[in-house]
């Protein structure tokens, strides 16, 4: 498939990505077209419905006329999708026919802080669509901090990585007992890597990034100057 669309990024207040998404969705599908009967000026939502009405319109008399298009939903069929990766806070991606559609879609939407200039490459979008497995980048011997669940805040050493299940088998560091604990990799944040020659590129650590309020400004397109106002 060769889609004729482009994907643009908008910046939102952190934590409001979903509400922005809901409001943009409403802007796209909430409004219907408005057609008017040329005889009695009554409104209808489609040309077909207007024609249907015109056949029996009381004000028709002997007049002739066509349904009149008063206003058209400008976004339906042009805004194709909205993506909220959530591993990247404060950003929402909108797939549209043209950049202009983005401007219409976000106008008046609260918590939109601006647009990011330029299109987002499909490679970058692919990274969000197929996020790397949570355990990726974590290895045996690393020290992690558990960020959720009963052991929240505890530090632990990675004993084993169960990549298939995206789980880590951990040994709590400050516990007098060495009971292995099974934790989903999403709930662990690397604090110290075991010594090894090559370190996995930090930018790939989505789960780590999600926990941080800092935006990685060196990270490709969002290093663009935002072109608000």
């Amino acid at each position: 498939m060769e889609p004729s669309t482009s994907i643009y990024a908008i910046r939102t207040t952190i934590g409001q990505e979903r509400s922005v998404t809901d409001l943009v969705t409403t802007a796209v599908i909430g409004e219907s077209d408005v057609w008017e009967c040329p005889f009695c000026r009554e409104d209808f939502s489609s040309e077909k419905a207007t024609k249907q009405h015109m056949k029996s319109c009381k004000k028709k008399g002997k007049k002739k006329g066509e349904p009149k298009l008063i206003s058209k939903n400008q976004l339906k069929g042009r805004v194709k999708s909205i993506l909220v990766p959530e591993t990247l806070r404060g950003y929402v991606f909108i797939e549209t026919t043209e950049f202009r559609d983005v401007e219409i879609a976000i106008s008046g939407v609260p918590h939109v802080r601006g647009r990011v200039g330029g299109k987002v490459s499909l490679e970058e979008i692919d990274r969000f669509l197929a996020p790397p497995p949570a355990a990726e980048g974590i290895s045996e011997g690393d020290v992690v901090e558990i960020i959720s669940g009963p052991f929240k805040g505890e530090r632990a050493k990675v004993v084993r990585v169960d990549t298939g299940k995206e789980e880590l088998i951990l040994e709590l560091l400050d516990s007098p007992y060495t009971i292995p604990v099974r934790v989903h990799a999403d709930f662990a944040k690397i604090v110290e890597r075991a010594e090894r020659v090559e370190v996995v590129e930090a930018a790939e650590g989505d789960e780590t990034k999600a926990e941080s309020d800092e935006l990685d400004d060196e990270d490709s397109f969002w290093a663009h100057t935002p072109d608000d106002d």
């Binding site: 339906k76 069929g77 999708s81 909205i82 993506l83 669509l129």
Partner: protein
């Protein structure tokens, strides 16, 4: 403005997430106990990322034909979906 919500944010987002459940089979987000999209009953409150596929002008058109995101994720019906479900 001080931002009192900022500190509580993770909790507050958590409450909102708890409302919708994601179908483990097709990722469709729903309030129901059965997925209205595929009739699956294996639903999860644990998911990250959201994708909204919007309908075209013709309601019956396959979004995969016109949307890159829909075609990459192989989503054939407009709706609100989770990106990653566990």
């Amino acid at each position: 403005m001080g931002n009192p919500r900022r500190k509580r944010r993770s909790n507050w987002v958590g409450i909102k997430i708890a409302k919708l459940k994601a179908c483990k089979a097709c990722h469709y987000l729903t309030n129901e106990s059965m997925c209205p999209n595929c009739k699956g009953t294996n639903l999860s409150t644990s998911y990250t990322g959201i994708v909204v596929i919007l309908p075209g002008r013709d309601d019956h058109e396959d979004p995969r034909k016109t949307s890159y995101v829909a075609s990459r994720l192989n989503i054939d019906k407009p709706g609100k979906y989770a990106l990653k479900v566990r």
